[in-house]
Amino acid sequence: MSVGLEHYLVLSAVLFSIGLYGVLAKRNAVVILMCIEIMLNAVNIALVAFSRYVVPMLLTGQIFAIFVIVVAAAEAAVGIAIIIAIYRNRQSVDVDKFDLMKW
């Protein structure tokens, strides 16, 4: 059995689902940020696999993945900065406690 496109796509879908589950179920803001990174990396796997198997002559998917990595780094930096700001206010990073505003 050789490894084909489907295998990569299944891996990507599984990783994406794990990330989404973590975002919905976890309560620590830093862990949620890590789960978002898992989701983005799942997308990267799908992009690179599509690029390799669907249009092997073009590098579009790989380039796209590089852009995603760069933007994800910027997003994580801002995310951590905001988490530090909220920690200074509340001495906590538990998202359940951030309920000053609801309804």
């Binding site: 989404l20 799908a46 992009l47 905001i82 000053l100």
Partner: protein, 489 residues
């Protein structure tokens, strides 16, 4: 591609230059008002470049990454105007910060650059990068006050925004995998070349389309991705709330329109499907927005729900375009006209609120009691804008609603228009409650509410345009039609 293509990016590059200049000059000057003036100068110069390009034949630059057409230029002008009005209105607000005033103005400019690229982007990669450029600047701006509410708003906005962009990316990856291309025109060619089949026989395309709609739905705040709106609007600095509700939403609609209309608009079996999807979401979005808005006691939060409802009306336009099969300009120009009128109206309402809350330090509707006696002009302007949001004459809101709903009726969406009209009646209740409180109650104190000249100018401009769009809409309809025509060709 050649170096000379950079001249088409003059508005964006100029604005980026001014943003860096603002940060640099911030280091030397003590008088921070200079920075606001400099930012507005940058926006005016960019608007000048944009106006010069208006009417040119549409071109694609950077290997079909960006389009320079009237549609993009229309939105660029709208975004530049919104950013300029926000900066005029935020001077008093920002002068109270003890640090980072320069960064505030620079971030507003950089997010404007991101949105301007977003409305011109015609490639999935460019769309994603532009979306994040505007998004990340806005996350920082929402957190700018660094108090309990503002940081909570920023964190909620960041986490939900990041999840939405991951979902959007997964959709983009599927569309890319299905078609092998990332540029919207190439995707359109591929989809048109497919043997006539239903979406159900192409599950990858169906899933990709749904995920794209979900990711963009966050940006335009449609149901069920509207949960962040009230919290972020309440906690963020008020000028940023206004900016989010107008500029970010307009840019979101522009990109939705371009992706769905240009890339997935053509074969009937695909456009009818997303037309119905948006019609159903539209009905739920406006109902949720209007019904929950009735319960609110905080005016920023109420306007947050009101902006969800307005997004619902705008989506009537999207649904019309989907149902209209092929090229029908009425839905598109109606949508653009509605965005124009919504932008000036909502900006006007928020600028009046900024002026009032600068003085009374409260966003509770009850604290607006008797504002008609304390600040008659501000109260009058706010009343005028709220009337326009309901859609009563002689304001922009009425013309915009008639325009967008008449397009929907022509394409068999009568049920949706009936839902929308019922919703407009519901909305009158909570808008008029604010008006009633302002003009009938006894004021808590006799102290007048002062406002700066910059803010008065911004408010007067907004009210002027609300009136102009309502009384002599002809010229503005012409602009909307010219901008919409490009999409069809």
């Amino acid at each position: 591609m050649s170096i000379s293509e950079f001249r088409f990016l003059a508005p964006e590059l100029n604005l980026l230059g001014f943003a860096l200049l603002v940060i640099l000059i911030d280091l030397f000057v003590k008088q921070k008002k200079v920075l606001a003036g400099l930012s507005i100068a940058g926006l005016v110069v960019s608007a000048g470049f944009t106006v010069v390009m208006w009417g040119m034949p549409a071109t694609d630059i950077f290997y079909r990454m960006l389009a320079i057409d009237n549609f993009a230029l229309f939105f660029k002008l709208l975004l530049l105007a919104a950013a300029a009005l926000i900066i005029l209105a935020s001077q008093d607000y920002v002068s109270k910060f003890d640090r980072f005033q320069g960064e505030y103005y620079a971030l507003v400019l950089i997010s404007a650059v991101g949105m301007m690229l977003l409305v011109a982007a015609t490639d999935l990669i460019a769309i994603y990068v532009a979306l994040e450029l505007s998004g990340i600047s806005l996350y920082v701006l929402a957190t700018f006050l660094k108090d309990k509410k503002s940081t909570e708003a920023g964190l909620k906005y960041l986490l939900l925004g990041a999840v939405a962009s991951a979902v959007l990316l997964y959709g983009m990856a599927l569309v890319f995998g299905f078609t092998g291309r990332t540029c919207l025109m190439c995707i359109a060619e591929y989809v048109q070349g497919m043997p006539g089949a239903g979406l159900l026989s192409n599950p990858a395309l169906l899933l990709g389309m749904v995920l794209l709609a979900a990711g963009f739905g966050f940006k335009i705040a449609c149901f069920p991705f509207q949960m962040w709106v009230p919290d972020v609007y309440e906690g963020a600095p008020t000028p940023i709330t206004a900016y989010l509700s107008v500029a970010s939403k307009a840019a979101g609609f522009a990109v939705v329109l371009r992706v769905f209309f240009v890339a997935l608009g053509s074969p009937e079996w695909i456009s009818l499907n997303w037309g119905i999807l948006f019609a159903v979401l539209s009905a739920i979005t406006m109902t949720v927005g209007n019904v929950v808005a009735i319960l609110q006691s905080n005016i920023k939060r109420m306007l947050g729900y009101s902006s969800i409802a307005q997004a619902g009306y705008l989506m009537v336009g999207l649904a019309t375009i989907g149902m209209a099969i092929g090229n029908d300009a009425l839905g598109q120009s109606g949508l653009l006209f509605f965005i124009m009128s919504y932008a000036v109206t909502n900006l006007g309402a928020f600028i009046a609120i900024i002026a009032i809350s600068n003085k009374i330090k409260s966003d509770e509707i009850d604290d607006y009691t008797g504002m008609g006696k304390r600040a008659p002009l501000l109260a009058l302007a706010l009343t005028f804008c709220l009337i326009s949001l309901i859609g009563l004459p002689p304001t922009a809101g009425l013309i915009a609603k008639i325009y967008i709903f008449s397009g929907a009726v022509q394409h068999g969406l009568l049920w949706l228009v009936i839902v929308a009209v019922i919703n407009s009646c519901i909305s009158a209740f909570y808008y008029l409650r604010v008006v009633k409180v302002m003009w009938t109650g006894e004021p808590a104190s006799k102290v007048k509410v002062p406002s700066s000249w910059a803010l008065r100018i911004a408010l007067a401009l907004c009210c002027l345009f609300v009136l102009l769009l309502g009384v002599i809409p002809g010229g503005f309809v012409g602009i909307a039609e010219a901008a919409a025509r490009i999409l069809g060709s």
